[in-house]
């Protein structure tokens, strides 16, 4: 029997705003499959986003959904989670939203290790505003504001998350659709701050400026650059040149989770009365 996505979609809210060929819909379906696998309760699940194409995702999902301001998803979500630690809190957004204007909130959510899952759709560009370069646009590539090629080096989101203290970090791609829900399931089950970066595509504002002739070509690139972490273990540095590792990149189950730690603060405060 075909998977029933409609169960999780708000009636009357489709079609979505995403362009033909955009990978965000693939990620949304992955998230829906993950929520179904985990049998999350809609009323007990908050999906929180910032601003941008990817951040429109919560509006389609039939849960408690919060479309915040640009970059602020992690900070709003921290308030939701601290007020109601029993809720499942899932953040979604793009690379510019999460690592530029929202960079500070991102690294501090990682540092606190608060039990939330952040799905970052990395399409290397600010899509909604028409294709300006983001902190993830590869050096030398074209964007509407780098007509002579991007001089900036880009972030490695996964390394940033690990360095900042996130305790579960995974990476997938929009091409490897069947892996997305599995990564998200594992991320949500992890007690702590989990980051799932999905390499995505934006044919409209990134692809056409960077000599991708079609969406298929962009998807094929994702297929070609992705190397599962297991497979990478057997490859040489030379073979890994230009490749991107996918799968669960980092997992630490020893670091204390923030809401649990704060519950201890409450116990100590009550004892001190």
């Amino acid at each position: 029997m075909a998977f029933d996505y409609d169960k999780w979609i708000r009636p009357g809210k489709l079609p979505h705003i995403w362009c033909p060929g955009c990978g965000h819909g693939i990620v949304m379906k992955g998230l829906i499959r993950a929520m179904e696998t985990l049998q999350l309760k809609k009323e007990e699940t908050a999906v929180v986003s910032g601003i941008g194409c990817a951040s429109r995702l919560p509006g389609y999902i039939d849960c408690c959904t919060l479309h915040t301001a640009h970059g602020r998803a992690a900070a709003f979500a921290t308030g939701v989670k601290m007020a109601r630690p029993e809720m499942n809190v899932i953040l979604v957004g793009g690379d510019g939203d999460g690592t530029a204007i929202g960079g500070n909130h991102f690294i501090h959510a990682c540092r606190r290790n608060i039990d939330m899952t952040y799905i970052i759709m990395n399409n290397y560009i600010y899509g909604m505003t028409g294709g300006q370069f983001s902190p993830c646009t590869p050096t030398g590539h074209k964007a509407s504001t780098t007509p002579y090629g991007n001089p900036d080096p880009g972030f490695d989101i996964a390394k940033l998350a690990i360095g900042a203290g996130a305790t579960f970090v995974a990476r997938g791609t929009a091409f490897h659709a069947n892996q997305i829900d599995k990564l998200i399931v594992e991320a949500i089950q992890h007690k702590g701050f989990s980051v799932v970066e999905i390499l995505d595509d934006c044919p409209t504002t990134y692809g056409r400026r960077n000599k991708f002739k079609s969406v298929i070509e962009m998807m094929n690139r994702l297929k070609e650059v992705a190397v599962p972490v297991k497979a990478a273990e057997k490859m040489t540095a030379e073979q890994l040149q230009g490749k991107v590792l996918t799968g669960v990149l980092y997992k630490d189950e020893t670091k204390p989770e923030y809401t649990v730690e704060y519950a201890k603060v409450i116990e100590r405060a009550k004892a001190s009365k």
Partner: protein, 377 residues
């Protein structure tokens, strides 16, 4: 039984006022001269299961309280000048998404870093015009430690009643001075609860105006699921660009406050019945003004004071009435003329408005005010 009495600083009183009002979530970022609010609440909130968060920056603190409020908490943040500037984007979010919250801002010298330990009253316009777009504004300006305590409680009540951010803005003198405070008994001051939905979850809309201009607000995690956005929205919370809906919703948001001015605006009239000269003052400056008015009376000058307790919405009606009766209005304020603009607007040229503007970090003393009272002919 006698009431509990303490010798407190304005900022400490603010924290205790928040606790009286049922505040159970605070997020802040350290900034002079408001940090004592954080320090008191970091110790007190967890004792009753409340949450205290020190966030990574001012913006994050504002975001966290909005998120927590949507999850049903009664929330506060505290800050000062530069922090208020940083919070403005999300204060606007609170206005359009209609999320109750209290922002406590201690006014210090500005702009920018300015004079972090010096008093000022130069954030009062920022309380209304700081965030972009049309939006409702409520701003309370206490003049004593006791009043700071009580006005923080009133700010929580107004934010819940009108489902909008409310600001409490003492100047640095009020925030840092110590005075005797008498704590009210539980139940002595009314605490207004949030209007919760009466419809079942499947019928709930977060901006359902069939319940009036202030629709009930459900909490995330309480069995209701709904959408919240900073975009112009429809009654169901989803974004729209339909002209007639956007216009109606924007007007409703502002009307929540504008149509209830008499419920919100508070003030004190001191020796006004026969006054020829009225000193309009707020915050710590009103303490010098009262002193000056008393001396003027001793010298046979019919002076009085109108003390603004609610800066926004502005007491237009009262000032307009006064302007028709007195020979002059004197406005001492620790800025270069902010309240005076509002007074001139309300006076409509019927009476002169004489300002005393000080931005040097020193309080305005009674002599200066007395001198200006005597200039009114």
């Amino acid at each position: 039984m006698s009431k509990k009495v303490a010798f407190l600083q304005g900022n400490e009183a603010a924290a205790h006022g928040a606790l009286y009002a049922g505040c159970d979530f605070f997020a802040g970022y350290p900034i002079t001269p408001s940090t004592e609010v954080s320090e008191v609440l970091s110790a007190e909130l967890p004792k009753t299961g409340g949450k205290f968060l020190q966030m990574e920056d001012e913006i994050a603190a504002m975001a966290a309280i909005l998120g927590a409020s949507l999850a049903g908490a009664k929330v506060l943040t505290s800050t000062s000048g530069p922090g208020l500037s940083l919070k403005q984007e999300l204060i606007g979010y609170g206005c359009i998404a209609e999320i109750p919250c209290v922002v406590y801002n201690v006014m210090r010298g500005g702009p920018s870093t300015g004079m972090p330990t010096g008093p000022s009253q130069s954030d009062v316009m920022c309380a209304k015009w700081g965030t972009h777009g049309d939006h409702p504004a409520i701003c309370l300006v206490p003049a004593s430690v006791q009043e700071t305590y009580e006005e923080v409680i009133r700010a929580f009540n107004l934010s819940e009643k009108y489902r909008t951010p409310v600001m409490v803005m003492p100047d640095e003198i009020v925030a840092h001075m110590r005075e005797r405070i008498v704590f009210p008994e539980p139940g002595e001051i009314e605490v207004v609860p949030r209007k919760s939905p009466t419809v079942p979850p499947e019928k709930y809309k977060p901006y359902d105006t069939s319940f009036g201009d202030v629709p009930p607000l459900a909490a995330f995690g309480s069995g209701y699921k709904f959408h919240v956005t900073g975009l112009n929205k429809m009654q169901d919370g989803f974004p729209t660009t339909k002209a007639e809906i956007v216009q109606a919703e924007e007007e409703r948001q502002v009307r929540k406050v504008d149509a209830n001015i008499d419920d919100i605006v508070t003030f004190e009239e001191y020796l006004l019945d026969d006054a020829d000269v009225v000193v309009v003052a707020y915050g710590s400056t009103s303490r010098s003004a009262r002193f000056a008015v008393n001396i003027a009376r001793e010298q046979g000058i019919k002076a009085g004071m109108f003390r603004i307790k609610t800066f926004w919405p502005f007491p237009d009606k009262q000032i307009k009435a006064l302007a028709g009766k007195v020979k002059g209005i004197v406005i001492p304020e620790m800025n270069l003329g902010m309240c005076s603009l509002e007074l001139e607007r309300c006076a409509q040229g019927k009476t002169p408005v004489l300002g005393i503007f000080r931005v040097d970090g020193e309080p305005i003393n009674p002599d200066q005010i007395l001198e200006k009272i005597k200039e009114v002919k």
